[in-house]
């Protein structure tokens, strides 16, 4: 059992020494992951975990990677992707150039899903996908575009459920139990670290996807990040959140209109 004050001490260390600010993260989930890390890495006490974090910058990388949740998949919630295909991309297609930001992209499965949608809509060539995460370790995986081959059956089913009509296996090369996605997809992906807690807007986008990232933040931080998204969207741009996330009750809700049952909003002013 780790006391609340101990978590506070650890979060202060992380901010003071490394500049990572986790103080506005949802505490229950954060604490659970700290406890989990203590047991995974067999620290006999919380104090020892804290000592290691304070004094071993190389351990910090693992700490951040384990504390932030990096579970993701391709074409998760197929009806969401179907809505992107049928309602959002046709509108974006009227623009000469399309900029899309995947904020908190983790290992990039959603970025590659999006690149596939764009390719099928004949928009990939005039699109750029910005993939950002606070965690440099996961971004390395986005760059490589290599995912476990064993997951491809499920991804292929979700792809089809999203309205995909091509042969999904045509998008990757299987080797040594891995699926390497085509360079044609990855060369349109621009990868960079960006911390939603501390970094500011860096471009103007037509579509921002940030799915299942805000759930890890408290209300105040959610509001701040939503304002950042608002400031980073052009007029009539789109914002997409996870299926259980909402703009309701946020400071920016009046500037957006929800498209349909999917968690996609259009900026109206």
């Amino acid at each position: 059992m780790i006391e609340e004050e101990n978590i506070d001490l650890l979060l202060n260390d992380l901010f003071d020494i490394y500049g990572y600010d986790f103080t506005r993260y949802s505490r229950a989930s954060l604490k659970r992951r700290v406890v989990r890390l203590c047991s995974l890495d067999k620290f006999p006490s919380f104090a020892e975990l804290r000592y290691r974090v304070r004094n071993d910058p190389s351990y910090l990388k693992r700490f951040v990677e384990e504390i932030t949740v990096n579970v993701t998949e391709m074409f998760r919630d197929p009806s969401f992707y179907k809505s992107l295909r049928e309602e959002v991309l046709p509108v974006l297609g009227t623009k000469p150039f399309i900029r899309i930001w995947h904020a908190g992209c983790s290992t990039g499965e959603e970025v590659y899903s999006m690149a596939i949608l764009l390719k099928e809509a004949n928009l990939l060539r005039r699109s750029l996908l910005y993939a950002t995460d606070l965690n440099p370790g996961v971004l390395e995986k986005v760059r490589k575009g290599i995912f476990p081959l064993g997951l491809m059956k499920q991804y292929s089913e979700s792809y089809i459920a999203s309205g995909g009509t091509h042969d999904f296996s045509g998008y990757y090369t299987a080797q040594y139990g891995q699926a390497k996605f085509d360079n044609e997809l990855s060369e349109k992906i621009i990868i960079s670290t960006h911390n939603l807690v501390s970094d500011s807007s860096f471009n103007e986008f037509d579509l921002i996807l940030c799915r299942n990232v805000l759930i890890y933040f408290d209300k105040d931080l959610q509001d701040r990040v939503l304002k950042l998204f608002d400031a980073s969207l052009g007029t009539l741009g789109y914002l997409a959140l996870g299926t259980k996330e909402t703009l309701k009750f946020s400071a920016i809700q009046n500037k957006f209109k929800q498209l349909n049952r999917e968690k996609i909003w259009k900026k109206i002013n």
């Binding site: 949802s26 505490r27 229950a28 989930s29 604490k31 659970r32 992951r33 949740v69 579970v71 993701t72 919630d77 009806s79 299942n212 805000l214 759930i215 890890y216 408290d218 209300k219 959610q222 996870g242 299926t243 259980k244 996330e245 909402t246």
Partner: protein
């Protein structure tokens, strides 16, 4: 703590279940009185995120307001909450829900253990947790956490469960306070304050 147990004070009721638990809830919910003085949180293992109609189905069985949780919803007494498919459900100290898409626990997301453990930290001895039918080990550690925090633990009588493994596993791993069939469970809940 002992005193609270005697009075059966309840600030939150947790019900966890897996295979075979839905039919228990379909029987149990209509037996519960309207206007429960505490929130009820249901954590059920289910197949995918497409069947959001489950909360409507459950709502049709009870006069108490019933809804699937969205991120940061406040935990309000009298409401029956359903953990959304494919997310872990946690409770914050300020009595709001938060969701989490981290690794499955016991092959399950939502995991009963995760919600029960998180609620135990917040509600301590003012918590009642019930584990229903199911075919895996999820829920036992959560019940243990509730018990350790001074809360009340109960399981569905394995003899009445379609899948007895889950309640039985809990009974063999900790001393649960009550073993109920559906009727007993309903009257126990209706008498909680």
């Amino acid at each position: 703590m002992e005193e609270n147990q005697l009075k059966n004070t309840c600030e939150l009721l947790l019900i966890g279940g897996s295979a075979g638990s839905l039919e228990v809830l379909f029987k149990l919910l209509p037996l519960l009185r309207a206007g429960l003085g505490f929130p009820v949180v249901l954590v059920l293992h289910r197949r995918n995120s497409a069947d959001s109609s489950l909360s409507d189905l459950l709502a049709s069985k009870t006069p108490n307001p019933t809804r699937e949780v969205e991120d940061k919803d406040p935990v309000i007494p009298g409401t029956i909450y359903l953990a959304p498919a494919d997310y872990h459900l946690l409770i914050e100290h300020e009595r709001t829900f938060s969701l989490d898409y981290s690794e499955k626990i016991h092959f399950s997301r939502p995991s009963i253990d995760v919600t029960f453990e998180s609620a135990a930290e917040v509600y301590g001895s003012r918590l009642v947790a019930i584990l229903l039918s199911g075919a895996n080990e999820d829920g036992s550690e959560g019940l243990a956490a509730v018990k350790q925090a001074g809360g009340i633990t109960a399981v569905q009588n394995p003899d009445t469960a379609q899948m007895p493994f889950m309640p039985h596993y809990a009974m063999t791993h900790l001393h649960v306070d009550y073993v109920f069939d559906t009727i007993q469970m309903a009257s126990f809940i209706n008498e909680l304050e």
